[in-house]
C-alpha cells in the first residue's frame, strides 16, 4: 500500500513572508512527500478546515510575525473543534528560545527556529508521520 506522507504547510495570521515556508515545502517535496500549501494570511479556522479536507498526516505552521503564542492556541483549539486534534502539528519560524517550551506545552510536537537544518525537519516529519500511521488504523 502507498504510504506517501501528506503534509500541510500553512501561514497563519498577518504574516506576509513565505520564503521560508516555500523552501521547507520544496525540501519536503524533494523528500518524496505531498505538500499542500495554503498561501499567506490564513485564519486558524481555515487551516483546520483545509487540514481535515486534505486528510494530512502532519501540519507545519510557519510564523515569522512574533504572534505564535497568540495564534497557536487558537489553531490547536480549531483543530480539536474540527475533530482533527490527532493530527500532529509542528511550528517553524522566528521563535525565541524561551517560547519553545511554551509551544510544546500546547501540544506542538516540535519547534524549528530559524537556523534549523532542512534535514532535521525532514527526518522529524518522517518519524512523526510513521508513528501516527501505525497508531491510528481505524
Amino acid at each position: 500500500m502507498d504510504e506517501t506522507i501528506r503534509i500541510l504547510i500553512a501561514k497563519v495570521g498577518l504574516d506576509g513572508h513565505d520564503r521560508g515556508a516555500l523552501i521547507i515545502a520544496q525540501s519536503l517535496k524533494e523528500a518524496g512527500m505531498e505538500v499542500i500549501y495554503t498561501g499567506l494570511k490564513n485564519t486558524p479556522e481555515v487551516i483546520a478546515d483545509i487540514a481535515v479536507q486534505e486528510d494530512v498526516d502532519v501540519i507545519g505552521v510557519s510564523i515569522l510575525s512574533g504572534a505564535h503564542l497568540v495564534l497557536m492556541p487558537i489553531l490547536m483549539d480549531a483543530l480539536k473543534k474540527h475533530l482533527a486534534g490527532d493530527i500532529p502539528v509542528v511550528v517553524g519560524g522566528v521563535i525565541p528560545p524561551g517560547d519553545i517550551q511554551k509551544l510544546k506545552a500546547m501540544d506542538v510536537k516540535e519547534v524549528f527556529p530559524a537556523g534549523s537544518s532542512l534535514e532535521s525537519v525532514v527526518a522529524f516529519i518522517r518519524k512523526i508521520a510513521a508513528s501516527r500511521s501505525k497508531g491510528t488504523v481505524e
Partner: protein, 332 residues
Amino acid sequence: MTGLVDKVKAGDVRSTARLITLLEKRDPQAIQMLKEMYPHCGKAHLVGITGPPGVGKSCLISGLIRRFRKKEMSVGVLAVDPSSPFSGGALLGDRVRMIEQSGDRGVFIRSLASRGATGGLSAAVNDAADVLDVAGKDIILVETMGVGQGEIEIARLAHTVILILMPGYGDMLQAMKAGIMEIGDILVVNKSDRPGADETVAELSAIQHFKGFQEGDDPWTPPIVKTSATTGEGLDRLEEAIAGHLQFMKARGLLAERSRGRRTRQFLDVLTQRIRDEFMAELQSDPAVQEWVRRIGNLELDPYVASEQVIRMIKEARERRRTGHRLDGSGR
C-alpha cells in the same frame, strides 16, 4: 472502518476525506466499499477543467464556485497536480487561489498528486469523484493540467470538459497539433482583459469551422466564452454554457453513454496497471528473461522479438494449464 460510507452519505467531512485517502492508497477494505458506494453515485455533474499551466484554471474555479454557491449548490473540487518523477513528491498549491471557499461547509476541495502512472492517476480521481458524489455534491470540478496525454485522459472522465486558453499563448496551430482542441465541450479564453483576446477567439472559431468541414455535422458546437477571472467578467456566460451542455447531454441521452465510457476506461486502466504490476516482477526474476535482457543490452537481440517470445511463453503456460485440467478431469 465499518459505517464509513454511511458517514460519507451523511456529509461527514472527516470521513469523506479519509475514504478518499484510503482509496488513493488502494486500501483493500476501502476497495470493498466501492460496491456499497456505487448505488449512490451518478447524481453529480462532473466537470473537467483543463488547460496549459498559468491560464487561470484555479482562479476561474474559485469564481465558478462563488456563483454555484449563490444558487445553493454544493460543490466538490479535485485539483490534480503532477508528482515529481524523481522524488515522487508533489507541491499542491491550487488551494491558494481558492482560499475564499475554505471554511464553507458546502464546498469540499481536495488536492491530488498524479503519483506516477497515468492509469493509477485516473483511477484515484475516479474513486475520489465517486466519494464526493456519494457525499451529495451537486457539481464536481476536476482540475488538471492539460499538457500531456495523461491529463487529457483525466478530463475525459467528466460529463463536460472545459478547455481554458488565454490570449497570446502562441500559435493556435500548436493547440491543433497537440489535439487539445478536440476534448473541450466548452472553450474558454481567460484573461480577456489582456490584449489579443478577440484575436484568440477568432482563431478558435476559425479552427472550429475547419473542423466542421472535416467532420460534417457535429450535434454540439463548443461555445467559445471570453472570461476574466479577476474581474469576474464572462463568468455568467460560462455558467450558462456549463448548464447548457448538461441539458444537451441529458436531452440526447448522452450522459449515460459518457458515464459508461468512463467506467469502461477506468476498468481498462486499472486492469493494465494490475497486469503490469503482477507480471513484471515475476518476469524480471525469470532467468530466461534475464538472459534476454542481457542479450538486448549487448545488441544481440532486439526488443520486439524478445517481447514476442515473452507473450508466447505466457500463452503456452495458459494453454498447458487448460489442457492439463482437461486430462486429469479436475477442471472446474
